[in-house]
Amino acid sequence: MINTLKIFCLSSLFLFSCEKVIEVDLNDEEEKIVIEGIVVSGEEEHLVKISKTIKIGDTGTFPFVDNAQVTLWDSEGNNQVLTYFSEGVYKTVDFLGVEGRTYTLEVNWNGNTYTAHSTIPNQVKIDSLTLEEFGFGSDKYYYPVPRRMDTPNVKNYYLFKLYQNSERVEGIYLQDDQYSDGVEILQPIFGGEFKSEDTLSIEMNCIDNNVYKYFFALAQNGGGTGGSIPANPKNNFSGNCLGYFSAQTKEVKTLIIP
């Protein structure tokens, strides 16, 4: 928020600033494996996507890995080897995600093993989706408020995805209950520039602490030199890979802005 404000001050007040695309010297690195695994409570088909990094100066699609062995366990002893689907995506069949269970994901590829654990938190449900209106000069913007009763005496972490007219709004939106343990959470999600007549969809995931920290760090990276010093965020995998494994809940609410 502070950085946004800073940029706002710089650009709007002094009117001297300017932006341009420049050439900079960049290091190239060796390609790295990227694993993104998600287990959702109440669902039976869970997806794991395995891809690779490309050089920063390269264009083109991200290469995917189709020859890994991917296994999922839960804390009840159930396990399953995932089947390859397409474009680097592996899927489970009839493997139920249950709140409170800890899941283990193991990926074997190229002689390396990558293992991660994640626990599905008890779900906090959205009671109602309301809007918060902000006037900025003559423009009016709306931000979603997913009202919900936070579970007391437990640390809760929330991850949101926003869709504006079915299109994903860029950015990572997170909340925790540091200041609102066990009370109704009324904080808006400051994402997108929703306007009248837009269709707003919000997906809320209850996630565990490690996944929250991963996304918190990822969000701080920003991709520029203005914020915190960027680095690859620490994830819950053992073995040197990028990405994360999240066992989580999922709830989607939609409304049309009046």
């Binding site: 001297f16 600033s17 690195e29 990094t53 003559s138 609102s180 009324l186 010093i229």
Partner: protein, 780 residues
């Protein structure tokens, strides 16, 4: 063992001193040196015995004392900007001699200035043992062009070698590889915790109220302490004690007004100086921004009163605040408040005492109002500080300072304040409390004509006090492994650091000297910043059970030469600095109001070395300096960059500045400024990948890349319109970044809008060609 070592050291001290103080039939001349026009005390005025290489300087309060054998002398008294005077003295008893110096009249012939200053023999830089010291001339500052025409001590300071600006227009600075929080900034002895306004574009020092500013680049004498890299000692004006003055300035973005005058003529005076920006007035004109707020103000006030011939009281204060707001929903304000009560007493003609009681505070407040939720986040650091110093003018060869200092710190981390509790349930952390103390002794010893030594010892300590709250211990991963309840105000742990300081000067001849200095500095409170630019919300944190005091050892070697009868000063200094217990964050740390913040910290070491070169011309129609620094600054922190050395963000290979002031006529002076420096060390992405349906960047080594080189030129013109008995006025024009160089402020990596598969580096530049005009006036 430790105490024994200290005993030995202190014995040595007094031994050295007593060696040279073999009794003779000596008498003392002492008194105050003042500005004859205003009654302001003059700091660092020289008192010399004509024909002999003996002398002293006035202290921070204008007091001087010199002891000489019985006899007849001619004493020469001079100070920069004043006409020097000579006094014939027949010394057969102790003499009290107050001296009033008349300021040099700049509107008379220029030759006069030159003659006066050159007879004053400006060879102080050769004789003084202290090194890495720069005294800023406040009149020079007024002529140097700056952003938006707001003359600024800190911006001028950044033009000196070894001092680097934290970035475009930023008032943060780095000294010899130190971080921004490793500078002790004192305003009338009170530490100023955040010396910047408006996200760093202006400093908190309103130059109307400033009398003197000195920076010590790491090898400070032992009366200063508490920070690793530098001390910036700023003293406020006392106020004219002869007549009332009203002065001020009207600028593009801010206006200033200062009032000063006697309370009781010749006995006491006051000064009140204020400044406020009015960018918010323009905001109101724009429909889009009319609900927004953005301004800052400063208020400096000072009172002094001479109670008796021997006692003088000073009360000074500073209050400044920034206010920023977006509509009704978001507000942000921050500011410093300081207060200093001082009592000077001349105990004897050789012993001077100063007792200070100091208050110093910094806070920020974020106001958030959205729908039913309405709360503030408040964070504060508050110091109560007691200082006692004695200055003992033992003889012409020894000048001893000793004293003690106790500071009580209260640091309140981000706390929630809310009137209604809708949507809120929180446990505020209790403020953390600590005591910092120091005892010191320092002697300035002039061994003979060519050799001077300034040596001393500062013994500092820090006690962590309990605050009645839980305290956490962490494992290597930063996870809580143990918790303990600390009883309120209980002493938990005390750290001691002996800080030896020594600097030596050997004058090879009358215009060349070699200097060597070593010092150890300790720092007990730390500013935690995980951002590459400083922010008002950066967190101050005290040394604790987990976090040890920061320490630094600095060794410096210098060569000083004056050329062409002291017209030119050439200084070359090299330094090597080793830093211990340096603090950094884990990647992706959550630093705001985090109860387990220390779990996010990593510790390590640092090193910095470099060579500084400056050539100055202080007198004549053409004056200014050329400075150049070649340096390297690195950190090595467990858990960062695979535990390898990496470039600190303030690492800058080359840093060059050129300042030229030319007095075209008594009425008009021109100035030109050029700076060039290597781009900061930054971390650019090296690869990209996709996660959560979005493109992310991957990184390899920390701070391996460089921002583009920075350079710009500024021009200034000062036009003295009137200088009459009752009124003077001047106009100041300046152009910042005259050739409109687009310097990179930040570089962002983005996906090209037309081709999302392509990543491009987008540079944001701030100020290109910013003209400014300021009108200054004074009613006398």
């Amino acid at each position: 063992m430790k105490t024994r070592k200290q005993k030995v050291l202190s014995t040595l001290f007094f031994f050295c001193i007593s060696l040279t103080s073999i009794a003779q039939n000596k008498f003392t001349i002492s008194g105050n040196i003042k500005d004859g026009n205003k009654g302001e005390e003059i700091i660092a005025a020289s008192v010399k015995v004509k024909g002999q290489n003996l002398g002293t300087r006035s202290n921070e309060y204008g007091f001087y004392s010199i002891s000489l054998p019985e006899g007849d002398y001619t004493i020469v008294i001079y100070a920069l900007g004043f006409t020097s005077i000579e006094k014939e003295i027949s010394l057969d008893k102790n003499i009290q001699l107050d001296i009033a110096l008349e300021p040099v009249k700049t509107d008379k012939t220029q030759e006069l200035v030159e003659v006066v200053v050159s007879t004053a023999k400006k060879d102080e830089n050769i004789r003084q043992s202290t090194m890495g010291v720069e005294r800023l001339d406040t009149r020079e500052i007024a002529k140097i062009p700056v952003l938006f025409g707001e003359k600024d001590i800190i911006k001028t300071l950044q033009l000196l070698p070894g001092v680097k600006s934290a970035g475009e227009g930023n008032s943060g600075f780095f000294v010899r590889g130190g971080a921004a929080d490793q500078n002790l900034i004192l305003l009338d002895e009170a530490p100023v915790y955040n010396a910047s306004h408006l996200l760093g574009f202006f400093s908190t020092f309103n130059s109307d109220a400033i009398k003197d500013a000195v920076i010590y680049k790491g090898n400070q004498p032992s009366n200063f302490g508490g920070r690793l890299s530098s001390v910036l000692d700023i003293r406020m004006n006392e106020g004219n004690n002869k007549r009332f003055n009203v002065g001020g300035g009207i600028g593009l973005i801010a206006s200033r007004l200062a009032v000063e005058g006697p309370i009781v003529k010749e006995k006491g005076s006051f000064l009140l100086s204020g400044r406020r920006t009015y960018a918010d007035v323009f905001l109101k004109l724009n429909e889009d921004f009319k609900d927004n707020k953005l301004f800052f103000y400063d208020l400096n006030a000072k009172l002094n009163y001479k109670i008796s011939k021997k006692d003088k009281l000073y009360l000074s204060g500073y209050f400044g605040r920034d206010v920023l707001g977006v509509g009704e929903s978001f507000g942000f304000s921050w500011g410093n408040a300081t207060g200093t009560l001082r009592w000077n007493r001349v105990i004897s003609d050789k012993l001077f005492s100063n007792t200070s009681l100091i208050y110093s505070a910094y806070d920020y407040k974020i106001m958030i109002k959205s729908g039913d939720v309405d709360f503030n986040i408040v964070s504060r650091i508050k110091d109560i500080n007691f200082k006692q110093e004695f200055q003992y003018f033992l003889n012409t060869k020894n000048k001893i300072k000793y004293g003690l200092n106790v500071i009580h710190h209260t640091i309140t981390p981000g706390q929630i304040e809310a009137e209604s509790t809708a949507g809120l349930n929180f446990n505020n952390q209790k403020p953390s409390k600590s005591l910092e103390y120091a005892a010191y002794i320092n002697n300035e010893w002039s061994l003979n004509e060519s050799f001077t030594i300034n040596y001393g010892l500062r013994l500092s300590a820090f006690s962590v006090l309990g605050n009645g709250d839980n305290y956490y211990f962490y494992d290597e991963e930063g996870k809580v492994k143990d918790t303990t309840l600390l009883k309120n105000n209980s002493f938990q742990k005390t750290y001691f650091v002996p800080e030896p300081r020594i600097s030596m000067s050997y004058a090879v001849n009358t215009n060349t000297s070699i200097k060597l200095a070593y010092s150890r500095n300790a720092q007990y409170i730390h500013l935690l910043s995980n951002s590459s630019t400083s922010s008002p919300t950066d967190v101050w944190m005290g040394t604790s059970l987990n976090t040890k005091p920061e320490m630094a050892d600095q060794l410096a070697l210098g060569w000083f030469k004056n050329l062409k009868e002291n017209q030119y000063e050439l200084n070359i200094e090299g330094y090597y600095k080793q830093l211990y217990n340096q603090i950094d964050f884990r990647n992706g740390a959550d630093i705001n109001a985090n109860e387990i913040l220390e779990g996010e910290l990593l510790y390590g070491i640092g090193r910095a070395y470099g060579i500084e070169f400056i050539i100055k011309k202080k007198i004549g129609k053409l004056s200014g300096w050329f400075g150049y620094t070649l340096s390297k600054t690195e950190r090595k922190i467990e858990g960062i960059n695979n535990n390898e050395w990496y470039n600190a963000r303030q690492d800058r290979t080359h840093d060059l500045s050129l300042v030229v002031i030319y007095d075209l006529s008594p009425k008009i002076s021109l100035s030109c400024l050029f700076v060039f420096y290597t781009g900061n060390a930054v971390t650019f992405p090296s690869g990209k990948y996709q996660v959560d349906g979005q493109t992310q960047y991957s990184f390899t080594e920390r701070n391996e890349s460089r921002m583009p080189n920075y350079h710009r030129m500024d021009l200034g013109l000062t036009w003295n319109l009137k200088n009459k008995e009752k009124f003077e006025s001047s106009l100041n024009f300046s152009i910042y970044n005259v050739y409109a160089r687009e310097n990179a402020y930040v570089i962002n990596f983005k996906q090209n809008e037309d081709n999302p598969e392509k990543t491009e580096a987008v540079q944001l530049s701030l100020f290109r060609l910013v003209p400014a005009i300021t009108y200054n006036f004074k009613f006398k």
